[in-house]
Amino acid sequence: MALLDIQDLHASVDDTAILKGISLTVNAGEVHAIMGPNGSGKSTLAQVLAGHPAYEVTGGSVTLDGADLLDMEAEERAWAGVFLAFQYPVEIPGVTNAYFLRQAYNEIRKARGLDELDPMDFLDLLEEKLKVVEWGPEIMERAVNFGFSGGEKKRNEILQMAVLEPKLAILDETDSGLDIDALRIVADGVNQLKRPDSATILVTHYQRLLDYIVPDYVHVLAGGKIVKSGGKELALELEKRGYEWLTGVAESAALA
């Protein structure tokens, strides 16, 4: 059984159709890249999978391990193992990273019928996870994403992913706005977190990220549909030729 099975997915926001029939199968252990020009529906797909309330699913089905994902609230999807690394991580002044992560971790444990971790044990766990993003403990006492640089916010998303150990990680434009050092740290983190029983979907405009996280499959999204699928070599072709040959609109996949 596929880990994630998307069939003929249609979705709209404010009555405007954005996704117009997406089908995609992701198996455990795989990395899929979803590329496409601006406005193609990439981020919408990521948000629909995570359960953003502003998007309305108007057709199709999505299952995770055979369970109906579309029937679940956003928090229930997190309990089931979905994790979205946000393109624009949200600032929550007044809540420390440590508190936020412990609550998230324990809510997911609770939903799975496991014991909650007390603050001391959780700190031990955190110490290990911080290594994934090459951070010291001081970051844990800062408010969630508050006053973080763009790069720090993306690293914080990967830290959360490390703690929550999702089955399905969706990274939405995680490479945007990163300098080369931050990109390396983020990509290293994602690579370390790969497991045989989990899968990763990378949503990205640019090929650059795929030099660091090598996908098994690349899909090109345009006009709310997957217009081409292939192996990692497709990304390189996009970098050379842009998106025009697939979409009819000139747009580069290489970083300017």
């Binding site: 995570a50 359960g51 956003a74 928090e75 997190a78 949200v90 929550i92 809510e107 959360q160």
Partner: protein, 434 residues
């Protein structure tokens, strides 16, 4: 301005205060203040500054001086201190200084207001009722006319207090309709530094009215942090007034928490009398049920090159009502003023209500003055972010409500007091959101 004519109880209370005697300057000030109060009276809702805060019932309530209810035990008061017992602790019981419950430490000269007046303390004559004047509000006038006692704190020029001073205003009365009228005068000399933490609490559950006034005088380059915690009994009326009077390059940092009382009103004035002054005003009001919490602030930028920064937040549930009015006056001479005011309110119910009004009157042209006010529900983006991490429902609501409050509590720089405030607010929010 037309207020309700003053009534007999207030006349009696004034007579009682006057009969206690004192120097002639005091009698004159009391008399002038009472004349002022008699002229303006208890405001009706027709008076603009009191439009949303109905206090006219006070005009017909038979207030009297608090009956002597006996001195509470130190243990009863223990939960209300925010800091350790190594700090100076001053207790005012039903408006009277209680030496047996108070402890004084070195570094700050402290005495009861009554003792200071009797001893002819020149600071009192110079400042009492001169910064928080009878003209400021009707209740500031009533306070000066009727106050019975209080405390005077002096931070001598060039000194740094080792620890904050805590003042506990305790109302113990079991009888209905006591009027408690106390005053605090803090004088920080040039280059002096110190902190004052005031708490307003009650041991009884009868209705009463407190009209406390605090005057803070900051000399040149003085630095004062002032925390004010209003946690009166549920049926109480609390109408307080704080006035900070600042000289050149002084720094005044204030934090006010309002959680108690049926109706609370705090007027907070800062007067910036010279250049290079910094004034930071932070506050948080929590109210639910039928509570009303009102903050009226006024910042007087009378001289150039001063900064004021104000952040007030409110969280309102049930059928509670929040009121915020923020006045900023920038005089023509006060060029290069940098003033920023923010008022943010969170509504936890459909029936809670907030009236917020920034009021900037700017007569100088080379200034930076901004204001912003919001009234709303929890931030939906933040709520979705939490849900995407598995935190949903009630827990997300509690975390985000707490976060909203915590952001402004974090502005208190005294660690012990900040921790106590966090505890107090958490407890209150748990009651409000469960």
């Amino acid at each position: 301005m037309s207020g309700t004519t003053t009534t007999l109880p207030f006349v009696e209370l004034f007579g009682r205060a006057e009969a206690a005697g004192g120097p002639s300057w005091l009698s004159a000030r009391r008399r002038a203040a009472f004349d002022r109060f008699a002229e303006v009276g208890v405001p009706t809702s027709k008076v603009e500054d009191w439009r949303f805060t109905p206090v006219h019932a006070l005009a017909t309530t038979p207030f009297s001086a608090p009956a002597a209810a006996g001195v509470p035990s130190a243990a009863t008061l223990a939960p209300y201190w925010t800091g350790p017992d190594s700090w100076s602790r001053l207790v005012l019981v039903d408006g009277a200084f209680a030496p047996a419950l108070s402890t004084l430490r070195d570094g700050v000269a402290v005495r009861s207001l009554r003792a200071a007046i009797e001893a002819g303390d020149p600071l009192v004559e110079r400042h009492l009722g001169r910064t928080a004047t009878a003209e400021a509000t009707p209740f500031a006038a009533l306070s000066l006319a009727t106050f019975t006692d209080g405390v005077v704190l002096h931070l001598p020029a060039g000194t740094q207090a080792e620890s904050p001073v805590e003042v506990l205003h305790v109302t113990t009365t079991g009888a209905d309709n006591a009027l408690v009228s106390t005053r605090v005068l803090l004088v920080a000399g040039d280059n002096a530094e110190g902190a004052l933490v005031e708490s307003f609490v009650a041991l009884g559950s009868a209705p009463y009215l407190t009209i406390p006034v605090t005057e803070v005088v900051l000399g040149a380059n003085a630095r004062v942090e002032h925390v004010r915690i209003q946690r009166e009994a549920a049926p109480a009326w609390h109408i307080g007034f704080t006035h900070a009077d600042q000289q050149a390059t002084s720094h005044y940092r204030s934090f006010c928490l309002s959680v108690g009382a049926k109706l609370s009103r705090h007027d907070l004035h800062a007067k910036l009398n010279a250049s290079g002054i910094e004034t930071l005003l932070y506050g948080l009001s929590l109210a639910d049920g039928e509570q009303l919490a009102d903050t009226h602030s006024a910042i007087f930028h009378d001289q150039p090159h001063c900064n004021s920064w104000e952040v007030y937040k409110g969280i309102f549930g049930g059928r509670a009502r929040g009121v915020f009015n923020g006045k900023v006056f920038v005089q023509p001479i006060a060029q290069k003023t940098d003033a920023k005011q923010t008022n943010r309110n969170l509504l936890l119910s459909d029936t809670a209500q907030v009236d917020t009004k920034p009021q900037l009157e700017i007569f100088a042209d080379d200034v930076k003055c901004t204001h912003g006010a919001t009234v709303g529900r929890l931030n939906e983006q933040q709520r979705y972010y939490l849900r995407s991490r598995g935190i949903g429902g009630q827990l997300a609501q509690q975390i985000l409500t707490w976060a909203f409050a915590a952001e402004v509590i974090a502005e208190v720089t005294i660690p012990e007091t900040r921790a106590a405030l966090e505890q107090l607010v958490r407890t209150r929010l748990d009651e409000m959101t469960s």
